[in-house]
């Protein structure tokens, strides 16, 4: 190839020189010839004429010379492709099977890769996003692996850091926007003013925050997102400088950010940004050293290593711990790439899916390789003739590979079409909780991956058959009439190996699917400890500037519950903050009055829930001993709590917790002790897959929140119940929005969307693997039967019974199954350790799953061998003996 490139280069760059050289060369020839002819006695004139005639047309030969300079290897390749296409066209059945098999593999891989690429690999949509890091605080002794910052710690970090060029802190919040039609809850990002310069983002209109906007006493300002401006504000051209009302407080709009900029809400396009000092909740936290609420992102200076950065953070955390031991003792500062932080725990399941779909492609390739091996055997003679006529081994391999390249191209193209379709299907299936789902599409990178995969796959299934074919013995191939019985032992072995390998790979996938399926069944059948059939939830958040006193919060929830109670179709209702699985948890430290205070390394914590008295009845949580809350448990009376069974067992072993008193680190408690008056059964409050931990319940009236997270038992449809609730809320305060009305069972279903998604996909891949492996085995056995038609005929002529023949063929299938299952068992045991973290209440080496999978595979293998075996028994000895 190299000399050709060189002469191509010469041809391109020295065109005129080449032309004149060509002319000179031919002229030299003709003149030399004329000289010789002259010497042999011709006249000068005759000699020149004769020489020119003997040479022929100089012009046309120059043209022919030019033709030879074109890039012939490309033309060879094109010719091979054309030839490959012609050969393949004669075998449409083979082509359809091979192309579809490959397309299935490529399509599935491309679709999954598009998800993996968008979620895990694609750079974040920010300038130089690899410089961005999430900087967080952690308290290893208490098992706090990562949390936010207090504003005061963050401010010092930002001022004193030498390794970060810019840092900003954010927190998400929801505020109520009024005055623009119906009151609405908007996604509010509480951000320090540096956020926009950190990301290097310019506003669409107006300005971003100045550092003065973040100082105490500054006027309330807000930046809105482009989509919020276009939607809620109807693209009002005069919005900059106008006032909007958030939580009933007036904010002046100073800028619009383009729709492409999304942070810290990554998937929601409608949001707004305010400085922390203006936030009704976080604003009051700014001058506290304790508290961990600000999520900090920093841009590392170019050339600063991670070690340097971490060293600076370590020095800072040591100083914090020394200067403010109460708030910072035991805390460390860590950093991870922002991308990694956003991806979170989505990575392992996606990699498992990618691995699984890769195995499917491998099985598909093995199938096609088997088909090609079969074809190569019957084409041995054609290849032998080519070799005799002078085709080199490399040339033969190249030609056969070109055929597989045609297959690969067709398969790849079909696969890409399948992938487009698959990505659409996937998008509908994808759990909403998966980060960056909106970035999933078949883009150039994904297309490149598909093409690369097709090329690699073509080589994978094409190379072995091509090498086998090129190695075949000329003498034998030519002598044997049709090449029918001319199959070498090696090739037969290769085919059996491929088929057994397919069974093994299919087993790995089936076991994985089986384990995930069992684990998902366990997950959905686990009892959460509460019963929420016909229970729905609704959120009402109270504007904190209007509803600033805890008494107002209690009064609002009391009135709302009383109103809901009397509506037809709505039954009992309750408020609870937070509700299990729906809302996340509040984990608080507490001390037991009369017991020694817990050390920092073994502090007592429990999940804390503030509920109205009806809560336990609505949720169906049984009381085990003592009493529940009632309407008389209000702020002035004795502070009480009800604890869960797990809490009683963990913190009061061998004691009766009733009557014991706790002091809870909740701001409004102000250290007042709470008496334990009852014990209730455990509930899974974090997630269905997480065992219940210690929990304490307190009366809402004694620990109110500035919102009403309502649960309502109802016999109405979701929408009519929502309408009724909205109507009642409006009667109390017309500016309060009611959001997120939904049936609890649906939310709990949605909470297992990720396991459901991966279980479904892995099940799909396992099914594909099973079908592919079955067709692979069917192909191998069928071919082996057709190869031995003559032998079978002879045996039957000599008196063999059809049962004997049947058994003989089935035995061959059984042998394949045995080898495949043995390999698959070893492979599965090794591979299942990789998915151990995805399993719930089932061991990676679950015997039941392994046995069931082995039985299924053995059954499928035998069934796939049975069809050709039946055919073998119907062989007519007379026909078979003539069969060649």
């Amino acid at each position: 190839m190299f000399p050709q490139l060189r002469s191509l280069w010469k041809a391109l760059w020295n065109r005129s020189q080449i032309e004149s050289e060509l002319d000179a060369e031919m002229r030299f020839h003709v003149e030399s010839r004329a000289q010789d002819l002259l010497r042999s006695g011709l006249s000068r004139e005759d000699a020149h004429r004769r020489a020119r005639i003997e040479f022929g047309s100089i012009g046309s030969y120059q043209e022919k010379v030019r033709e030879t300079r074109r890039v012939t290897w490309l033309e060879d390749f094109a010719q091979d492709l054309r030839y490959g296409w012609r050969v393949l066209r004669k075998n449409p059945g083979f082509v359809v099977v091979a192309v579809l098999t490959l397309a299935l593999g490529i399509g599935a891989n491309t679709a999954i890769f598009s998800v993996v690429y968008a979620v895990l690999l694609k750079p974040l949509p920010y300038a130089k996003s690899d410089e961005l890091f999430n900087v967080f605080e952690a308290q290893p002794q208490e098992g706090i692996t990562g949390t936010g910052w207090s504003f005061m710690n963050f401010a010092e970090l930002r001022e004193q850091s030498h390794v970060f060029s810019e840092m900003a802190g954010v927190q998400k919040h929801q505020l109520t926007l009024t005055g623009q039609g119906a009151p609405a809850v908007v996604n509010t990002s509480v951000v320090t003013p540096e956020l926009f310069s950190l990301f290097g983002e310019k506003p669409l209109a107006g300005r971003v925050f100045f550092s003065e906007d973040g100082k105490p006493g500054a006027l309330p300002v807000v930046i809105v997102s482009e989509n919020l401006w276009r939607g809620t504000f109807g693209a009002d051209p005069k919005i900059i400088g106008s006032s909007i009302s958030l939580d009933k407080r007036s904010f002046s709009v100073i800028g619009i950010m383009p729709a492409a900029f999304r942070f810290p809400f990554l998937t929601k396009s409608e949001q707004l940004w305010i400085p922390p000092v203006q936030d009704p909740l976080f604003g009051s936290w700014m001058n506290r050293r304790g508290g961990h609420w600000l999520q900090v992102t920093g841009r590392l200076k170019p050339g600063v290593s991670l070690t340097q950065a971490q060293a600076e953070l370590d020095a800072l955390s040591a100083r914090f711990a020394k200067e403010f031991p109460a708030e910072n003792g035991g805390w460390t500062i860590r950093m991870v790439p922002l991308q990694q932080m956003i991806v979170g725990n989505a990575k392992p399941p996606l990699l498992v899916l990618l691995g699984a779909v890769g195995l499917v492609l491998l099985i598909a390739c093995a199938n096609i390789a088997n088909l090609l091996l079969t074809r190569a055997t019957s084409r041995a003679r054609e290849i032998a003739v080519r070799t005799t006529l002078g085709a080199g081994r490399a040339r033969i391999v190249r030609q056969l590979l070109s055929e597989t390249a045609v297959l690969g191209l067709l398969g790849g193209a079909t696969g890409i079409a399948l992938a487009y379709w698959g990505v659409q299907g996937l998008s509908a299936l994808l759990p909403e909780s998966l980060p960056r789902v909106n970035a999933i599409r078949v883009d150039n990178v994904v297309l490149g991956f598909a093409l690369l995969l097709s090329a690699i796959a073509s080589c994978a299934f094409g190379l072995a058959p091509a090498l086998f074919a090129a190695n075949s013995n000329l003498q034998t191939s030519l002598r044997e009439g049709g090449g029918r019985s001319g199959e070498s032992r090696n090739r037969r072995r290769a085919r059996s190996f491929l088929a057994a390998g397919e069974i093994a790979l299919a087993m790995v996938l089936l076991v994985a699917a089986g384990l995930l399926l069992r684990s998902f069944a366990n997950l959905t059948s686990v009892s959460p400890g509460f019963d929420v059939q016909r229970v729905m939830k609704a959120d009402i958040s109270l504007p904190q500037f209007q509803y600033s006193k805890p008494q107002q919060w209690t009064a609002f929830s009391d009135e709302l519950l009383a109103r809901i109670q009397v509506q037809p179709g709505l039954q009992e209702s309750a408020v609870a903050v937070p509700r299990p699985i729906v809302d996340g948890v509040i984990n608080l430290a507490f001390d037991i009055v009369g017991s020694p205070a817990a050390s920092a390394s073994a502090s007592r914590t429990a999940n804390y829930v503030s509920v109205s008295p009806e809560y336990f009845r609505v949720m169906g949580i049984p009381l085990l001993s003592g009493r529940l809350f009632n309407r008389r448990d209000v702020m002035p009376s004795q502070h009480i709590t009800v604890v869960s069974k797990a809490m009683a067992r963990l913190y009061f072993p061998n004691q009766d917790p009733l009557g014991k008193q706790l002091t809870v680190a909740f701001p409004f408690d102000n250290g007042a002790p709470r008496e334990i008056v009852g014990i209730v059964d455990d509930v899974r409050d974090v997630a269905l897959g997480q065992d219940p931990g210690p929990m304490m319940y307190v009366p809402f009236a004694q620990a109110p929140f500035w919102g009403a997270n309502v649960i309502v038992k109802s016999t109405l449809s979701t929408s009519s119940a929502a309408a009724t609730i909205r109507q009642q809320v409006r009667k109390i305060d017309k500016d309060l929005p009611v959001t997120d009305v939904a049936m609890m069972p649906e939310i709990i279903q949605a909470s297992v969307a990720q396991p459901r998604f991966r279980t479904f996909l892995l099940g799909l891949f396992a099914a594909m693997a099973l079908v592919l492996a079955a067709t692979g085995i069917f192909g191998v056995i069928s071919y082996s039967v057709s190869q031995r038609t003559r032998e079978i005929g002879i045996r039957m002529a000599l008196g063999a019974q059809s049962e004997n023949v049947l058994m003989q063929v089935l035995k061959e299938g059984a042998r394949l199954a045995a080898i495949g299952l043995a390999l698959g068992l070893a492979g599965s045991l090794a591979a299942m350790r990789l998915i151990a973290t995805l399993l719930f209440r089932v061991k990676p080496a679950d015997p039941l799953t392994f046995v069931v999978v082995a039985v299924i595979l053995a059954g499928v293998t035998l069934a796939a061998s049975y069809i050709p075996a039946r055919r073998a028994t119907r062989v007519d000895p007379m026909v078979a003996l003539r069969y060649e």
């Binding site: 190299f2 000399p3 002469s7 031919m26 030299f28 003997e54 030969y61 002078g390």
Partner: protein, 113 residues
């Protein structure tokens, strides 16, 4: 002069490689050398030599450079490259195989029976 035969199609490349393998030659020299080693087999037109030379050079089997001919004129000289030498060896073997096979086929006598 011995009886003149046309060159078999497809053999020109092989003959050029053979001719050049004995030492560097310019185009006209290649022609003379082929006439010599084939004892006078002829090209239909001498110009046909040049596309063949160009193709072989393009495939990296020949290399060329400009030099001075016997009669002191500038001429383009061709010599065999390493891969050209290898190709010549392979083509010779392949040719011999085919020639033997065809020779045997043509020389076969009908079997008695």
């Amino acid at each position: 002069m011995p009886e003149q035969a046309q060159l078999l199609p497809g053999t020109l490349d092989l003959l050029i490689l053979k001719a050049v393998s004995l030492g560097p030659l310019h185009g006209y020299g290649v022609l003379l050398r082929i006439e010599q080693i084939t004892r006078g087999a002829l090209l239909a037109e001498q110009g046909a030599l040049y596309p063949a030379l160009s193709r072989l050079e393009h495939q990296g089997l020949l290399a060329s450079e400009w030099g001075t001919s016997d009669n002191n004129r500038r001429a383009k000289f061709y010599r065999l490259t390493t891969s050209g030498r290898r190709r010549l060896r392979e083509e010779t073997q392949s040719w011999n195989r085919l020639a033997t096979a065809i020779g045997a086929a043509l020389g076969a006598k009908p079997q008695e029976g």
